[in-house]
């Protein structure tokens, strides 16, 4: 079938409401949040918006029979072009499929369809005193399907880790059009070592092995108390040093975040009421658990951080905590505010390094920014070494674009050199696939073999990962 026939067939299969085929409609699916697709948007052949496994299966079978690429998509908040049809094909937008199928309170599990928004899920779970701990900065807009595909994490990975350990089982439409259930067809258990762990393989596979149509997640009881310590530093180096000292004092906070001086300015500009103190850096430590424990650990953090910090503010007051946490979550995009004619770009934004080397890395990034004459706003999940760098440029100035590409490349290489990785949570997608061999060596060939086993025709989200 040619493209026109494929489009007709899709409409016939799913109905006009669930298929986009007009050029204008399709253009809107040429991007995600990445700098890559800002520079090079790619329009898909068609977009489908299925709302059942059977519909997804029909589309995949059609694509398989006709050798057409298929690209799963959630909310398109990814930073790597992962959900964009960089080599053409049908985009399967799952973000309208927002069903919470079941909350199994006793077994502390929830079953959802892929389009459910992370924050909505946690709002629902809160009614049952449960929560799904990973907390991406994009919580209010990204889908659980996207989180599973990217193994997303975020502000609480220090204690609660990434999406992966919470995924107990998946329903997947494979690239050949089969439907499989990983983690045990009937299973409702939490521990399970039977069989090859396909769940683990799928999580973080960025949509190159299949389409996730249902997710069974483990939840935790909601902690009863929370507190946030904000430590303010006059010297950037003191911030990472304090992180190590807090761990050494025997405290595992639920989150440790850093904002450098420019990130602080950006947050204050967007939300003046948050009123962060001006400084070289601030650290936000979040502690959660039972009330006396939270208070106890808060005091230790206060004491330890106070050795290097100019000031430490400890708060268990709901409003202030919400403000501080919000301040950190908005940094990702508010970063642009440091320059009137600038925009932050999502490129080189997600390196992960050993926590002992964070200070060196922050210094090196600062030097690279100076070398290229580009302001880089630094913030991120310092507690696990996941540093987010936001180069702020005028993306419509070709010279700046060329310079920033070089800067970003150096940042990625720096991460690898420092025994880290080019990406801690946002994934590889199309944007970072060039570093695969450097990072993984011959293991990349085995990754390709795994993919081929699932996807013999190579139609599933090609042009990504490696």
């Amino acid at each position: 079938m040619n493209n026109a026939d494929i489009k007709k067939e899709l409409v016939k299969m799913l109905g006009r409401d669930k298929v986009l085929i007009d050029d204008l409609d399709l253009m809107y699916y040429s991007y995600d949040s990445s700098f890559l697709t800002k520079l090079q948007p790619v329009t898909p052949t068609a977009v489908v918006l299925p709302a059942s496994t059977a519909e997804v299966q029909k589309v995949v079978r059609l694509a398989y029979e006709n050798d057409v690429n298929i690209i799963p998509r959630g909310a398109g908040t990814g930073e790597t072009g992962g959900c964009v049809a960089v080599e053409g094909g049908i985009v399967i937008d799952l973000s309208r499929w927002r069903e919470i199928v079941e909350i199994d309170v006793n077994n502390m599990q929830v079953v959802v369809r892929p389009g459910v928004i992370h924050a909505d899920l946690n709002d629902e779970l809160a009614k049952f005193n449960l929560f799904f701990p990973p907390d991406p900065g994009s919580s209010k807009m990204c889908t659980i399907g996207g989180m599973v595909a990217n193994n997303a994490s975020g502000l609480r990975a220090v204690k609660y880790w990434t999406t992966e350990p919470y995924v107990l089982g998946l329903e997947v439409v494979t690239p050949t059009g089969d439907v499989i259930i990983t983690g045990g067809q009937q299973a409702r258990c939490i521990k399970n070592v039977s069989g090859l762990n396909l769940t683990k393989l799928m999580v973080g596979s960025e949509g190159v092995l299949g389409i996730v149509t249902q997710i069974r997640l483990r939840c935790f009881p909601r902690p009863k108390a929370r507190g946030i310590a904000m430590a303010v530093f006059d010297h950037l180096d003191d911030a990472p040093a304090t992180v190590l000292e807090v761990y050494q004092a025997g405290v595992l906070p639920s989150g440790i975040e850093i904002l450098d001086g420019s990130a602080i300015k950006a947050v204050n500009d967007f939300k003046p009421h948050i009123n962060l103190p001006e400084a070289e850096a601030i650290l936000l430590f979040e502690v959660d658990g039972n009330p006396p424990g939270v208070e106890y650990e808060g005091q230790i953090i206060k004491e330890v951080a106070g050795r290097r910090a100019r000031q430490v503010e400890w708060s268990t007051e709901k409003k202030r905590m919400a403000e501080l946490w919000e301040g950190r979550s908005i940094t990702a995009t508010a970063a642009a505010r440091v320059r009137a004619d600038g925009s932050r770009i999502f490129a080189g934004e997600d390196i992960s390094v050993p926590i002992s080397k964070v200070a060196d890395v922050l210094r090196a990034i600062r030097a690279l920014g100076e070398k290229y004459g580009i302001q880089v706003v630094n913030y991120g999940h310092i507690g696990d070494g996941n540093v987010h760098c936001a180069p702020v440029i005028n993306p419509e100035n070709p010279e700046e674009v060329e310079l920033v590409k070089k800067l970003v490349d150096e940042i990625h290489l720096l991460a690898i050199e420092m025994n880290g990785s080019t990406t801690g949570e946002h994934g590889v997608g199309a944007a970072r696939r060039g570093y695969a061999v450097l990072e993984h060596g011959p293991a990349v060939d085995y990754m390709k073999k795994v993919k081929a086993a699932f996807d013999p025709k190579g139609i599933m989200n090609p042009g990504k990962l490696f």
Binding site: L20, L24, D25, M27, Y28, Y29, Y31, D32, S33, K38, V47, L49, A75, G76, T77, D93, S95, R96, I117, A119, S138, K140, M141, C142, F270, I330, A332, T333, A334, A336, R337, D341, G342, S343, R344, I345, F346, N394, P395, E396
Partner: protein
């Protein structure tokens, strides 16, 4: 000014990092769920338009026209993009490239002349009622008002027979000593659809020591024109109104309509008057413009010392043009709290749009109703008997919502309730 050179187009497009935060905030995206309805999609499309990657076609207008200009995205954009301004600029450009005689007539003539405006609403519904769709289509009305007109016209069911203007004098003296000279910007929605708000506003102002001036010849604030791509007409209207108020030498210019005060705000006037010699006048004018509730609470600090026997359970809906465009949330609530007998109960998502947005409830009827239904279920969950808000367009929409959901609540502007509290209580039996 050339489209590419317009400040929002020149300065703001490149700021969008497409983070997608706006997707989940947008009431229209919430209903449609496809990227072309998302605010970041609109920013993208304006960029395509600017870069010549798409033709300035009616189809592009239709995509951008899905936005109901509630400004939720603009108010919450971490990158600081005024998505609605960008959208308005693009609509004006598209409109210039695709002249539509019917629309030009409607917005260039009818809706610049207050009396005619009222007629236009009637003509549209009458044409439908008499089966004269063809005539309406010929003059471009159905194109402008697609969808189920028959249903849409129900929203305009209760157009009062007399406008506020016909019942109020151009000057009302202050009761007692005069504290302020206040210009009252009588918006079209209040004038034609809710004259009781104007009467209450003038009464309350006068009672609290304000001389009230309503300039003769006042015209529309221009918002419907901006929203429908008629920027040139909006500009003319603004300049006309600026001149009228200039002569009056008033301390403040107050309006009970959130949309009017947003349109007359410093930021918006800068946008509308860009490239004209009226920029400074506009800024000086805007500096005196104030929402009525803000004026009553912050400037007059009114205390309502009357005894009221009855109780009102009131819930408040934040009009988009107050909450998003101007960040005003507290004063309307405070005013309500100061009215004896009022118990204020918050509804969930008080700041989410009601789907009214001026002509939107007519041009995108179905969508508007879906948004409205969500609003009504939140509002009704409070068990209030009064639903208060500060925008005549919201009042019209919410009234319709009450009918649709069979909820027997009264929809009104807080000043109307205040005025009611002032009315002498019936003598005790």
């Amino acid at each position: 000014m050339e489209f590419k050179e317009l400040p929002p187009v020149k300065e703001q497009i490149m700021k969008c990092v497409r983070c997608g935060k706006c997707r989940e905030l947008c009431p229209v995206f919430g209903e449609i769920g496809i990227e072309s309805a998302a605010p970041r999609g609109h920013v993208f499309m304006v960029q395509m338009l600017r870069d010549g990657k798409v033709e300035p076609s009616p189809e592009v207008y239709e995509k951008l026209g899905q936005c109901l200009m509630c400004e939720t995205c603009s108010a919450n954009c971490p990158s600081g993009i005024d998505v609605h301004e960008l959208n308005a600029a693009a609509r004006a450009y598209l409109n210039d490239k695709n002249p539509n005689r019917g629309k030009d007539f409607l917005f260039g003539n009818f809706w610049t002349k207050p009396e005619m405006m009222k007629q236009s609403i009637k003509v549209a519904s009458l044409a439908q009622r008499l089966g004269l769709q063809k005539l309406a289509r010929n003059i471009g009305l159905t194109r402008l008002l697609p969808g189920d007109l028959k249903d849409a016209e129900k929203i305009l069911d209760n157009i009062p027979p007399h406008s506020a203007r016909s019942q109020l004098s151009a000057y009302t003296p202050a009761q007692g000593e005069s504290r302020y000279r206040v210009g009252y910007f009588l918006g079209c929605g209040t004038d034609f659809l809710n004259p009781e708000i104007a009467q209450a506003a003038v009464n309350v102002l006068s009672r609290n020591g304000c001389e009230v001036f309503i300039p003769e010849g006042l015209k529309c604030c221009g918002l419907p024109h901006i929203a429908n791509g008629k920027m040139d007409v909006a500009r003319q209207l603004t300049i006309h109104n600026l001149k009228l108020f200039e002569k009056l030498n008033v301390d403040y210019i107050v309006t009970d309509c959130g949309s009017c005060s947003a349109t007359l705000s410093k930021k918006n006037l800068k946008f509308v008057l860009e490239g004209t010699s009226y920029q400074e006048d506009g800024a000086a004018f805007a500096a005196r413009v104030m929402d009525l509730t803000v004026f009553l609470v912050d400037v007059l600090d009114i205390q309502v010392d009357v005894k009221i026997d009855r109780k009102w359970r009131v819930t408040y809906h934040d009009p988009c043009h107050l909450v998003n465009a101007q960040g005003i949330t507290e004063q309307p609530r405070e005013l309500l709290r100061r009215i004896p007998g009022v118990e204020l109960v918050e509804m969930p998502h008080a700041a989410s749009c009601c789907g009214g947005s001026g002509t939107y409830s007519v041009t995108h009827h179905q969508l508007s109703m879906q948004i409205l239904d969500k609003k009504m279920s939140n509002a009704a969950s409070t068990g209030a008997d009064i639903l208060a808000t500060c925008c005549p367009s919201c009042i019209m929409q919410l009234n319709f919502g009450c009918k649709r959901s069979n909820w027997n609540a009264e929809v009104l502007h807080p000043v109307v309730l205040l005025n009611r509290a002032y009315e002498p209580a019936p003598a005790a039996v």
